[in-house]
Every structure is written in structure tokens, then in C-alpha cells.
Subunit: 80 residues, 2 copies
């Protein structure tokens, strides 16, 4: 079973890395780029087959380790 976790900065939180990418893309001639936000995608291989339990456990992992919930929001998807 796999879990896909997406961790992204909450709206309004400054994203210096995203700003750097925006500037670099515009400097390369990609003028259509208005704004860039960068986040993390974390793919977990999990033992077990209970999707509901897995989603709950992975959400706990996010709160405890994978995301900083003060400034970041996360989503959890369980696949196959």
C-alpha cells in the first residue's frame, strides 16, 4: 500500500524558494510565469491493507513529523 502526502505552505506564508524560481524562470524568458509556490511530495510504502487506518496513521505522522502545521497544510491520499 502506498500513501502520497503533499505538504504545501499555507496561503499568505512567504515562500522565498518559490520567489527565486519565479525570478529565474522570468530571467530565462518565461514571461507567462506570474507566481511559483514550492512544496514537498512524500511517498510512503506501508505494510497492511486497511486504507482507513492507514490514512489516519499517516495524518498523525504529518502532524508529528512530516509537516509543520503552523505554516504548512498537508493532504494524504492512499493508493493501491
Amino acid at each position: 500500500m502506498k500513501a502520497i502526502v503533499k505538504v504545501q505552505l499555507k496561503p499568505g506564508v512567504l515562500d522565498p524558494q518559490g520567489s527565486a524560481i519565479t525570478g529565474a524562470l522570468q530571467a530565462l524568458g518565461y514571461d507567462e510565469v506570474l507566481d511559483v509556490r514550492q512544496g514537498k511530495i512524500i511517498e510512503l510504502d506501508l505494510q497492511g491493507t486497511d486504507h482507513v487506518l492507514a490514512k489516519q496513521r499517516v495524518s498523525e505522522m504529518c502532524g508529528e513529523l512530516l509537516a509543520n502545521t503552523v505554516i504548512e497544510r498537508f493532504s494524504v491520499d492512499i493508493i493501491d
Copy 2:
């Protein structure tokens, strides 16, 4: 228009950050975690309405700046 780019290490490429997360989660008691791979998610705000052109341009951006195609693979999704 928004583009969502996912950049992940190719299979077989060592992921020390992922290994560190695996170890930390197991140390916290999440024994069901077998393996973790970490990647980037990049959200771009784009001017224009042509989805086909946007996908082509963002794929170019990935090859040029956003991904290291020697060790990373990427996917591009255009939304709204």
C-alpha cells in the same frame, strides 16, 4: 491557469532524505513504514488560456530549470 509539476527521483537513485524520514518515523513507533521517497511539488500561476501550449512550455521549464533529468523524473498537470 495553474500548472502542477511533480519532480521525483528516478527509481534506483539513492534518496538519503527519504531514508532519514523512514528512520525517524520508525523511531517514533510507525513500524508499518517500509520506505519513504521525497520529491518536490511546484505550483505555477501562469498567464494565458492555452492548455496545450502551457503544458509544452512548462515541460521545457522542467528540462531547463525545475528538474535534473539525469536523476529526476517529472510530470506536468494543467488545471483551471
